[in-house]
């Protein structure tokens, strides 16, 4: 069995992550920040340590600026719905996942102006096009760091510089890159960073967050939900400080214990090694696919400018048929279709059928890539 669906959820899970989940449930299991007893404090410490590890990974000065959410979708919704007001203009790209596009389309119905900047067919957003789209009422540039369909990386620090020069915020969806590619909130000029724990951070599902830097006016950013925080309990109004303003209800402590272990594991592997290893696998996959007759590969076709996610099609076959053959006959798990991103498929001209997507991860090997290439070759041969 070959698992090539890491762009959706990474697998396998590092053993230390599984141990952390079991250890939390066995030895602690209490509610963080709700009581003063030792187990409650232990639980709160686990959450805080994960906050610190995220701060270290993304170069955040204060761990309390990290808001934990269920996933990147919730984080993006918090940033957009919480910050944007009627009459505002938002700039996004034509390569966004629906986690970004759907809240934006919803906001559009409430008198928010949305400008979708067209990317090139390989998925790249031109910085000059972003600059040209900025208007006097633009408050935010909201884009992904890398496409979930073709892996194309955007030039964050340059786009962030444009945002700063025009006094607008940069919201980045780092679902596809957090943990797999170095991200620095400061040097990449990011104001709001949305991440998820279950992809290239190798943590459990149900973990993610939004990082809010000092440029964001938190008096303006409304919470998606309010409720118990364990702080200021004498008041019936929501606390206004970070992170409690945006974190109501008991968090996913067991998941965050796992995410903390995953972050420790990533720091042990070293993100540079993860990136260079995945780059090698990706380059091998792209060049191998390009050599197969009847196969078309999408994106920038250059591993150095993308993540380990590669999309392709086989002439004369629907992606769904290929996906079924890969799974049932050859034991290769991948994702086919539109990948929750109709905008991207329109941009790369594969709408409405979509593509076959191989999402590689750190646990894949060159020999698995070779086996998958043989499998694709075999399927493509039958057609021709």
């Amino acid at each position: 069995m070959i698992y090539f669906d890491n762009a959706a959820t990474s697998w396998p899970t590092p053993p230390c992550v599984m141990e952390a989940l079991a250890q939390f449930l066995q030895n602690c299991g209490a509610n963080p920040g709700r009581s003063g007893h030792r187990l409650a404090i232990d639980a709160a410490r686990i959450v805080y340590n994960t906050r610190e590890a995220i701060a270290k990974l993304f170069n955040v000065s204060d761990p309390l600026r990290i808001i934990f959410t269920m996933n990147v979708t919730e984080a993006i919704n918090l940033a957009l719905r919480g910050y944007v007001q009627p009459g505002d203009n938002i700039i996004t790209s034509s390569m966004e996942h629906n986690s970004m596009m759907r809240p934006l389309r919803d906001l559009e119905k409430t008198s928010v102006q949305l400008k979708v900047v067209q990317c090139s067919q390989n998925g790249k957003l031109d910085v000059d096009d972003v600059k040209a789209a900025i208007q006097s009422n633009t408050v935010m540039i909201a884009i992904n760091h890398a496409s979930n369909v073709v892996g194309t990386l955007q030039s964050l620090s340059e786009i962030g510089k444009v945002a700063r020069n025009h006094n607008v915020l940069l919201l980045v969806d780092a679902a596809q890159t957090g943990g797999a590619y170095p991200i620095d909130m400061i040097s990449d000029n990011i104001d709001l960073l949305a991440f998820t724990g279950h992809k290239s951070l190798y943590g459990p599902t149900g973990t993610g967050g939004l990082i809010i830097n000092e440029r964001v006016d938190i008096n303006r950013l409304k919470p998606l939900k309010t409720g118990g925080t364990g702080s200021g309990s004498e008041k019936e109004h929501q606390p206004q400080f970070l992170p409690d303003k945006y974190e109501s209800g008991t968090p996913n402590v067991v998941g965050l214990a796992g995410l903390g272990a995953a972050l420790h594991w990533i720091s042990q592997q070293d993100i540079k090694n993860i990136r260079s290893y995945e780059l090698k696998l990706t380059a091998h996959l792209i060049s191998g696919l390009q050599q197969i007759r009847n196969v078309k590969v999408y994106g920038c076709l250059d591993a150095a400018h993308q993540t380990a996610t590669v999309s392709f099609n086989i002439d004369g076959l629907q992606p769904s048929e290929v996906g079924l053959k890969l799974d049932e006959q050859l034991g290769i798990m991948c994702r086919v279709g539109l990948h929750c991103s109709p905008a991207s498929h329109n941009t790369i001209c594969t709408f409405p059928n979509g593509t076959i997507r191989f999402g590689l991860g750190f646990f894949n090997t060159l020999s698995e890539v070779d086996a998958a290439l043989s499998a694709v070759k075999q399927i493509a041969k039958v057609v021709s």
């Binding site: 963080p32 920040g33 709700r34 009581s35 003063g36 007893h37 404090i41 709160a44 410490r45 959450v47 805080y48 906050r51 610190e52 204060d62 761990p63 309390l64 925080t229 364990g230 702080s231 200021g232 309990s233 004498e234 606390p239 400080f241 992170p243 409690d244």
Partner: protein, 77 residues
Amino acid sequence: MTNIQYAAILVPSTSHALKVEKILKEAAVTCKLIPVPRQLSSDCGVCVRINNSDAHAVKTIIDSKNVTYDGIFQIEK
């Protein structure tokens, strides 16, 4: 004669208490998270207990680290 037992750093939340705890541990200051004494607040959270003799030094340390706290209070028996 007053009978000061310890000093307590009152903070907005448990996350803040943990942040203060990390800072003090790095500075080798003895501290412990305890439930907020009723005489300080009706909040259900925790505060950071320190030795009263460390209170001055602790104030200097946490003020330099840009951490929000509500105050350092002396707790009597």
